[in-house]
Symmetry: C3
């Protein structure tokens, strides 16, 4: 549950694959504003590739990592809308997440200590095509205002998780898990302990971990610790993904 | 006029064809914030195709349908900027709309009970290329704060309307009026009364009205009641518009 | 420094080349909200072409011109992140700008009276790849809340400026400095004094200054005073940039 003091003018973030062309994001915001007209609404991104649960999972974890205590995060990448797939509420870092139980919580689960509950609240009447607006947004608003938690969240549950985890730094073997619009390739290798050795990706040696983009020549690839605390493969003023032909899932090694 | 109690921290929504690349949307927001620094500003969409008044009309109606009492909606799709085309203020569902009188109010007018007035307020000095910033945004802010209505809105007026209306369910004959970025095709056929029979579009039979996307096989088209309360033609995990070659204006029939 | 009275619920704007696909914009907002949960956060644009300092400079000036006294503008187009390039704080029109000292302030500097200071505040720990989140956003938040100015901004400084200025109206010789997504071409020729004569661009005569887009035939180019107070070359219901083959830097003349 959220600390009481944060509930006056709550922050609710939104992460979806709805895009910004249609009115769908605004419809979710309206469902929140009907309850709390002065919510601080923050878009994480609405450009998750359609139904790409892994990409959504990565963006959602970044939101959890960056936002203050008391924030409620609403994440809707939901290929199963209209089926009986469960919805969940997750407590993490004194924040809450509301999302479908389809793996979207995975990356948050891997990097933070979490507790998950089934979202049991249902409105009197919901469409069968837009649970983001009809169920998850109102539930997020109720949670943000300190509504009785037990009326919204039920039994503790083990969420469904994607088959992706933090790499074991000891083995030095990981993979690309996210590529941003600059072409920077984030891996699942954490920066927690000293990383020695040369980084290679898809059989090509990139070199040792550098400090910043400017440590490479223009256009040249380099490995560094990205702003999310993970090993990242970048290229100075260029797209590493394009330069190196990297895609999500490609193997990254750190070795002698 | 708006209920007094809603005026403290007003909600103003924005619907335009300005895109998000330039500073134009922010310029309209600034014109509002100069008057009301703590306005709750909500983007419906700024990706209406340039000068597509019908698409703008559809998005604006969705905003009116979803937002709380007291909201002011600012809609600017305005090919006639700089000419003498009138501007209007519309009262609908205890909310207000400010927009050019060029048909943008059409879909709101068809689905809700409305009263329209000419927007008579003008600033001391306005550009002739950006009435959204110079006239409509300041007028929306004044209306949102409960400024004297009669100083802003003049005579009652019959707005210009596009040649599109709700289909007569009795005849079972309608058309596609909006296609979203998933390729879902919304029609002008309302869900108000039981709909029996098979839906067909452009001569191709889709089938009876289903409950949800998951009622079709992956990639297959289906008809259902969309989240806007209208018959929609969709395809599970695919674009119905692409699969069926549908465009705005194409005929949709419900028959035996 | 900002007027005290504006500091209660501050307005902070954001102008970047981060795009909206990744979580980076939200990460900067989170860094602000951690300090001031009810900041009024306004996006100017995040679609500055990557590392296009001139385009960023133009958008930033528009923000300064339009927003109310007390606003803090955060602008991050920063090819030099991780190097030792300085950051600056600029006082202008009773507003503040925080940005890298790489020319991003140029167009604001040319059109307004400004004072620049080196941004000396640094966090205990900053990444070397995301100074927008780790240094500039927290500094903007501190400035917006009236934090001790001298702890954040140091010595007065002469900022680095791009080689672009307001055209001398007397000579009638200027250039295209920004092209918007409609294809309207804004020049550096100010509207301050009466402009007589015919405008030509790239050797093609456009004609005299008109009042509004509707003063040309559909598809035809025209010159007018745009909403930023500068001579603009547009085309009615068409892209002037495309019709005339214009690009940023192309010469524009006003002559007999």
């Amino acid at each position: 549950m959220l600390p009481r003091m944060e509930r006056r003018r709550p922050i609710i973030t939104l992460t979806t694959d709805f895009g910004l062309r249609d009115h769908y994001v605004a419809a979710m915001k309206a469902a929140i504003l009907v309850q709390i007209p002065d919510t601080q609404l923050i878009d994480i991104t609405h450009h998750i590739p359609p139904q790409d649960v892994l990409a959504g999972s990565f963006a959602l974890e970044r939101a959890v990592a960056e936002f203050p205590v008391g924030t409620v995060h609403l994440a809707v990448v939901d290929p199963g809308v209209g089926t009986t797939r469960p919805l969940i509420v997750v407590e993490v870092e004194n924040q809450l997440v509301v999302c479908p139980d389809n793996g979207l919580i995975t990356w948050t689960w891997r990097r933070h200590s979490c507790d998950a509950y089934e979202l049991i609240w249902r409105p009197g009447r919901a469409s069968s095509t837009f649970h983001g607006r009809d169920i998850m947004a109102p539930a997020a608003a109720m949670l943000a205002t300190g509504h009785d938690f037990d009326a919204i969240a039920g039994e503790s549950t083990e969420p469904n998780l994607l088959n992706i985890a933090l790499a074991d730094a000891a083995t030095g073997r990981g993979q690309v898990i996210y590529i941003d619009h600059f072409g920077n390739c984030t891996t699942n290798i954490p920066a927690g302990e000293p990383i020695a050795g040369r980084v290679s990706a898809k059989g090509r040696v990139i070199g040792p971990i550098r400090q910043t983009y400017a440590d490479a020549d223009s256009g040249a690839p380099l490995a560094l610790i990205g702003s999310s605390g993970l090993v990242e493969i970048a290229a100075r003023n260029a797209s590493a993904a394009q330069t190196l032909g990297l895609a999500v899932g490609d193997e990254v090694l750190i070795g002698p």
